[in-house]
């Protein structure tokens, strides 16, 4: 099983949207996919299931390593896609937790998921690369970084790179899959300039060719509790995430090229 964390230093850049739709794209491809919500805000659960506030999830497994994973997994209508909501995690929600405290439990969680036969595990994380998110990154195979296509988002890139560099010290095998530009607005010059600025700034192999557009469809999909790809008008976005999925698969097969 390959574990991919979807993380960013900055909040509100579309991590949950990318996580949900990327997981959906992998599942449509036939990969047994587990989407795990490690954001205490529980955005994945809030996006996809009405019972998310009462479901047990990731933080319950972190609090009790003997908690059976099978009881945490929520199946979806797509047979190959399952999700684990954030769960009831008031302690972590309130205290934030310190890096290293839950690392062993996170590893155990991934081991349990792997033993269930999943091919890929996509982890939606909270903003910032510290606390439990740092533990997740310490235990993951790869990290994928959404970056909002606006000047402020791009200016935060150095902080994100510094944090990832620190994470690579802790987890040297962490494969940085790259940065994907999100909320790209083709009719807004500043948005397009930001995309171009990031491409000029970073090595070509660090920025994904595909970008995620800002689209009202994401809001409508969220309102219905669905990945955008299953919406009637969602064919375009579905194609974007399928291309993104293909890019990621290529980087997993041949990292550092």
């Amino acid at each position: 099983m390959i574990t991919i964390a979807v993380s960013s230093q900055k909040g509100g850049v579309g991590k949950t949207t990318v996580s949900i739709n990327l997981a959906h794209a992998f599942a449509r491809r036939g990969k047994r996919t587990l989407l795990v919500d490690t954001d205490p805000q529980g955005s994945v659960g809030l996006s996809l299931t009405r019972q998310s506030r009462t479901l047990r999830g990731f933080y319950d497994a972190i609090a009790d390593s003997n908690f059976p994973l099978q009881q945490l997994i929520v199946p979806t209508r797509l047979e190959t896609l399952s999700l684990v909501p954030a769960g009831q995690c008031s302690d972590y929600e309130l205290g934030g937790g310190a890096m290293g405290v839950s690392l062993h439990r996170v590893r155990m969680f991934f081991q349990m998921a792997a033993s269930q036969g999943y091919d890929i595990c996509i982890i939606d994380t909270a903003a910032g690369l510290f606390g439990v998110t740092a533990d997740v990154l310490s235990a993951c195979d790869a990290v994928f970084v959404p970056q909002q296509a606006e000047p402020l988002g791009v200016r935060s890139v150095p902080k994100m790179l510094e944090a990832l560099t620190r994470m690579r010290v802790v987890n040297p095998r962490l494969n940085v899959l790259g940065v994907v530009m999100t909320m790209v607005q083709n009719r807004l010059a500043e948005s397009l300039e930001s995309v171009q600025a990031l491409r000029n700034l970073l090595p070509p192999n660090m920025v994904m060719r595909n970008v995620v557009p800002r689209d009202d469809l994401f809001i409508r999909a969220s309102a219905k509790g669905l990945p955008v790809g299953v919406m009637e008008e969602g064919a375009g976005v579905l194609a974007v995430f399928d291309s993104l999925r293909a890019e990621i698969e290529a980087r997993l097969e041949a990292p550092y090229e």
């Binding site: 310190a98 890139v157 150095p158 990031l198 700034l201």
Partner: protein, 283 residues
């Protein structure tokens, strides 16, 4: 004006990004950190842990010395409850009252051979010397691990013979010869220095704190938590191994500086050797 590049150091950003997109440098892990196995759950959050009380910093009632009318050593010494740190024999290293609770740890304490068999306080009515009874076989809990094939070389001189300090010095020499140890210190359960080749009171304090915390956890868990393999990296190529050994004198804490952690098997061997060195006092 560039909305992005004028806000950051592009060269620095590119350098960081390029390093992230390169394969990580291979780290040569030559020594497995035996102290942290697969079940290591990470460090406790300091805000959630109770402060550790130093059990040895409690006030100590003055003791009235009594003449040694009975043998100093009896087999019951090894039948005490697991985890107890109370000594069943007086330390051969008696200290004067003004040495209790001194914040400054003496660098070296010289030991005279006579101190080993007689208390330092003169007996008011000395009794005729008695031959110590033949001690029963020592019931010593062996370490649970199997010793590796490569074990410490047998000392050329019987480590169990001779004055205590001489034996400790032989013990130290064996560590230097066979395990590349640099220096060591040994303190007893009252914090008194029995031998100090390091000359660093802070390291001694670190060793006491580690051993204290480990034994407290051991006792609080009714023995289910093992007294761990305790070591601290104190320099680029220097690791302090802290090896608590329960003896008839109570808990002895050995601190040895090695170039790198020696692993749990070696720690067990060193503990066994120290135990032999210390426990043979009355042979």
């Amino acid at each position: 004006m560039d909305p992005v590049q004028s806000w950051l150091d592009a060269n620095e950003v590119r350098r960081m990004a390029e390093s992230l997109m390169e394969p990580p440098a291979k780290v040569d892990v030559s020594t497995i950190d035996a102290g942290y196995g697969e079940n290591f759950e990470g460090f406790a959050d300091a805000s959630q842990t109770e402060p550790i009380q130093d059990v040895w910093s409690q006030p100590i009632e003055p003791q009235i010395p009594t003449p040694p009318v009975a043998p100093m050593f009896s087999p019951e010494v090894h039948t005490e409850p697991s985890g107890s740190i109370a000594p069943t024999h007086k330390s051969p290293f008696q200290v004067s009252a003004d040495q209790w609770h001194t914040s400054k740890v003496p660098v070296t304490r010289q030991v005279r051979p006579a101190e080993e068999v007689q208390p330092s306080v003169p007996s008011p009515a000395p009794t005729p010397p008695q031959a110590p009874p033949a001690p029963d076989p020592v019931v010593f809990e062996k370490s649970s691990f199997d010793l590796p094939e490569e074990t410490l070389n047998e000392p050329e001189v019987d480590i169990a013979r001779g004055p205590f300090l001489t034996r400790l010095q032989r013990f130290s020499a064996i560590l230097r010869r066979d395990l590349n140890a640099r220096s060591m210190f040994l303190i007893d359960n009252e914090g008194q220095v029995l031998l100090d080749e390091v000359g660093n009171p802070k390291l001694i304090q670190v060793a006491r704190t580690l051993a204290n915390a480990s034994y407290r956890a051991h006792r609080q868990s009714s023995g289910s938590a093992a007294v761990g393999n305790l070591h601290v990296k104190i320099g680029a190529s220097a690791t302090l191994e802290v090896i608590p050994v329960q003896s008839r004198y109570g808990l002895l804490i050995l601190g040895v500086i090695f170039p790198s952690p020696i692993g749990v098997e070696r720690v067990g061997q060193v503990a066994d050797l120290l135990y032999t060195t210390v426990e043979s006092t009355l042979k």
